[in-house]
């Protein structure tokens, strides 16, 4: 039973405005000391009982990070981050083996309830023995991996997935149980020194999800991770690695929430996807980190590196993202199209309201022949929000017959916000064809009036029009997520009109 569906209901049940997930869970936590140095990296590695190669891998990343400077090219502004004034490891103390929900930390259960996760799912997530892996009747099952702060707390439906040979677990578990797979692929798509935030993540990542779909297997259910930053002054550095072997297919969902806080918190995740011959990975994100308050205080700095490699012929990687949260979003889910006839897609909705800033887009690297990519980006700016689409389409000399189509549309609500489009097109191949279009528009008075005359409130009207504006992207989301995303869009824009 999908946590997300219940989350929608939770959203629906809330009537007051503001951030709906701004609760904090008071669970007994275990922290590493504040600050970042080699010892902390060693501490994290030791805490997770990691093999020597991984510790060295982390230390190389840390050395690279120390030599790097924080990037400044994105169109976002924020005060300098003190990387020494944060915790790099925080874990809930109770994580294993309660006999029933009664034994589970009640605060954790409250968190699940607030997340809108139903009882059975709560049992499974909390790791109650014998909770079983059967979904509630009549619903499409979704396997969930929940990551709290730095640690994966539970993964559901493992047994059922294992029957298909699918590995879906936390990356810490994968390091222990499938070290050969982790070692073979980790860092091969996003190398440790790729960029400042990726290097930081590589040094201190604490958990995340790991997925391996064997040859020819079509994953029977949606896989999902729920991320939540809970503790104060913690950064979250999860690392996700998904490998789809030849001929396999997987759809993966990612959702995120964080409590309301006055301080800014850093989220620097890395996601790596690998698709072999004829494999398909669909990766969907609904990002709803705390955006800060109406005055721009607090909120998450979401500095994320996501990249997929279409290594095999005819492989396909499709990114869909709905970015409604975070004070600052900095992410460019990208595709390296190496295999002949491979396909990359990027569908994005990004909303900035109040003082939110988003600089997001994608990079499509066309390397193999007849590779194709599609980019559809919808940016919505309201309040004082600043929204930038930044994208790169690079076509190499050997990508004969490559195709790209890009559509970037911006919608402005009010005259205090900004909408920006910065596409880069680099083509070295004569037979390639690239098309890029960008438009800017606003919600017209007559559209609003028309809706209101038919009885909609102004906010409903805006919601309706915005959803129409985003239709091409929302239709790419799995069903449950699409409904949730639509609600989120509306909530994110509350207070933006009138």
């Amino acid at each position: 039973m999908p946590a997300v569906t219940e989350t929608i209901e939770a959203v629906q049940s809330v009537t007051e405005s503001g951030y709906k997930w701004g609760f904090e869970t008071d669970i007994e936590m275990e922290f590493a000391p504040k600050g970042l140095n080699e010892d902390i990296v060693r501490f994290i590695s030791a805490k997770k009982n990691e093999p020597e190669w991984l510790l060295e891998w982390r230390l190389r990343a840390f050395a690279a990070w120390k030599a790097m400077e924080e990037p400044t090219w994105a169109a976002v502004k924020y005060p300098p981050i003190d990387y020494q004034d944060a915790y790099y490891y925080a874990a809930p103390k109770h994580t294993k083996g309660p006999k029933s929900l009664d034994e589970v930390d009640p605060e954790l259960l409250k968190t699940y309830a607030k997340l809108g996760i139903p009882l059975r799912e709560q049992e499974i997530l909390a790791g109650v023995e014998g909770a079983g892996s059967t979904p509630a009747e009549g619903r499409m099952p979704v396997a969930v991996d929940a990551v709290f702060d730095s640690v994966s707390v539970a993964t559901t439906f493992k047994d059922r997935l294992e029957k298909e040979g699918i590995i879906f677990c936390s990356i810490s578990e994968a390091v222990q149980k499938h070290p050969e797979l982790v070692r073979k692929y980790l860092g091969t798509v996003v190398p440790q020194g790729d960029n400042f935030f990726a290097a930081l993540n590589s040094a201190v990542f604490t958990d995340g999800s790991f997925v391996y779909i064997p040859k020819g297997v079509r994953c029977p259910m949606e896989l999902s991770t729920y991320f939540r930053i809970n503790a104060k002054s913690t950064g979250q550095f999860e690392r996700t690695l998904i490998i789809a072997d030849a001929g396999s297919h997987v759809s993966y969902l990612e959702g995120c929430t964080a409590p309301m806080r006055d301080e800014n918190q850093l989220h620097a995740a890395v996601v790596e996807l690998v698709a072999m011959d004829d494999a398909t990975i669909k990766y969907s994100t609904v990002q709803n980190w705390y955006p800060g308050d109406a005055e721009g205080k607090g909120g998450i700095y979401n500095f994320v590196t996501k990249r997929g490699a279409c290594r095999g012929a005819r492989s396909k990687i499709s990114w869909t993202q709905v970015e409604t949260g975070s004070a600052i979003t900095w992410k460019y889910p990208s595709c390296i199209l190496q295999g002949a006839d491979s396909v990359g897609e990027f569908y994005s909705v990004a909303i900035t309201n109040n003082y939110q800033q988003a600089d997001t887009g994608t990079k499509m690297f066309h390397i193999g022949p007849r590779t194709t990519s599609t980019i559809v980006s919808k940016g919505i700016s309201a309040g004082h929000g600043q929204n930038t689409y930044r994208g790169l389409v690079r076509i190499g000399a050997k990508a004969t017959g490559a195709r790209n189509f890009t559509q970037c549309d911006s919608l402005l609500i009010g005259d205090l916000c900004g909408a920006h489009t910065v596409p880069y097109i680099e083509n070295r191949c004569m037979s390639a064809k690239v098309e890029h279009e960008a438009t800017t528009s606003r919600i017209a008075e007559d559209q609003l009036f028309y809706c209101r005359q038919r009885g909609l409130t102004e906010e409903e009207a805006v919601g309706l029009i915005v959803n129409g504006f985003c239709r091409e992207v929302l239709k790419e989301l799995p069903m449950e997520f699409a409904v949730e995303a639509q609600k989120l869009l509306q909530i994110s824009l509350e207070g933006s009109v009138g």
Binding site: I413, T421, M430
Partner: protein, 430 residues
């Protein structure tokens, strides 16, 4: 005179130090100050490298590593002038005004060399150029000697005027940095056709400061047709007041490296700007069009259409930014850039950019890159048209689409001829 030893920026700075007391206007403190400030900027930045975002795709290393002298002596004697496009023309040789070669009699407005007119230029010279952010403007400000100074009083229709720039090969590398000042008073009107020709290993680095007052219209056609040994780096700054129009159409086909950089600001309501052009390159050439359009007032319209055709081992760049300020409500901005690749060794880099801070705007841009369309080619051939002719028709159609926006017949004819000449040269060398 000893041969210059220092190269690039250092070389130019050294030359400035040596020449500053002899440059035109050296006794005018305001101008000395302007040049000195520019020298400070140029010393601080030097030639831009590819790490500078605006120069990401155009490498100035061949310019920065070379050493250029001034065209020291006036070239006397017969100079082959290009076929005239207009009765009235101002001719510049190596960046210096040549009244003896010009025909400017009986014009109802000021037109002539800037070096002779510096006394009247103080309010305008340096008013628009940004040597602090653009090193080439700094270099120009530091070392300019002359340029075309145009001043059209209110309501004057200046008709058609041609600006001819010729570089004469003195057998050694040289650089010239003309500074052109155009002022159009309220309601004034002018069509300016500019032809740049030249040979030899030279750097032509003109800077234009163009002030278009209320309801005035300047149509500025440019044909950059120097030979493939020339570096042409031009920077235009234009400001357009309420109801005014600045139209720029540039054909760049010839130099080894062409940078056609235009900064236009629409500062009054209902001002308009049209920037169009066609740039072509073949083996060893590099063409770059970079535009920055500032919508700083409400109800303004801008249109841009740029076409790039690349043959052989060549590279083309288009960068175009539309910036809509918060006050610029009801802006109508449109930009299209299209590139046609005729060779497997050509590369095109394109960066259209929108930066929008007002909500009631209609802004869009588009970019396409591709080869000649196979279906179109086949269709033409099934009608009996031989392949090479069919290709020529399609290239011509592609380029002429941009020229169609030019309403002045003389200018359109001149531009069309420039395009056809390029294609004819391509065909001949193929």
């Amino acid at each position: 005179m000893t041969a210059p030893v220092a190269t690039g920026a250092a070389g130019f700075l050294a030359r400035y130090e040596g020449l500053k007391d002899h440059l035109p206007g050296a006794r005018k403190p305001w101008l000395n100050q302007l040049r000195a400030d520019a020298a400070v900027h140029f010393a601080a930045r030097g030639f831009p490298t590819r790490r500078v975002e605006q120069w990401k795709y155009t490498d100035l290393a061949p310019v920065a590593q070379a050493s250029f002298a001034e065209p020291l002596t006036m070239v006397e004697g017969a100079i082959a002038l290009p076929v005239p496009n207009a009765e009235n023309r101002a001719v510049f040789v190596d960046g210096r005004f040549r009244p003896d070669l010009s025909t400017l009699d009986g014009l109802a407005f000021r037109v002539g060399g800037l070096a002779q007119g510096l006394a009247d230029a103080e309010p305008w010279l340096g008013a628009l150029a940004k040597p602090g952010t653009e090193p080439l403007a700094a270099l120009n400000t530091m070392l300019f000697e002359d340029g075309l100074f145009l001043d059209l009083p209110e309501g004057v229709d200046g008709g058609l005027l041609e600006l001819v720039s010729i570089a004469v090969d003195p057998g050694r590398p040289f650089a010239f940095h003309p500074r052109h000042l155009f002022r159009l008073g309220a309601g004034a009107k002018l069509t300016l056709i500019e032809t740049a020709t030249g040979r030899g290993h030279c750097l032509h680095n003109p800077v234009f400061e163009i002030d278009v007052a209320e309801n005035a219209t300047l149509t500025h056609g440019r044909m950059l047709q120097e030979e493939a040994t020339v570096f042409h780096l031009s920077t235009i700054y234009a400001t357009v007041a309420a109801g005014g129009t600045y139209d720029n159409f540039t054909v760049a086909a010839g130099p080894r490296l062409t940078r056609n950089e235009i900064h236009a600001a629409l500062t009054g309501p209902k001002a308009a700007c049209h920037m169009n052009g066609a740039q072509m390159a073949s083996d060893g050439q590099h063409v770059d069009t970079t535009t920055a359009l500032d919508h700083a007032a409400p109800d303004c319209a801008s249109r841009q259409t740029y076409k790039t055709v690349l043959a052989g081992r060549s590279r083309g760049v288009f960068q175009g930014k539309i910036h809509v300020h918060r006050v610029a409500q009801r802006t109508d901005g449109y930009q299209m850039n299209q590139a046609l690749l005729l060779s497997d060794e050509a590369e095109i880099d394109s960066k259209p950019q929108l930066e929008i801070y007002a909500d009631d705007v209609k802004c869009s841009h588009g970019a396409t890159v591709g080869a000649l369309d196979a279906d179109s080619l086949f269709y033409l051939r099934t009608r009996g048209i031989p392949e090479s002719q069919a290709k020529a028709m399609l290239v011509e159609a592609f380029l002429h689409e941009a020229v169609e926006t030019v309403t002045d017949d003389t200018l359109r004819t001149a531009l069309t001829r420039a395009l056809d000449n390029w294609w004819a040269r391509q065909e001949a060398s193929a």
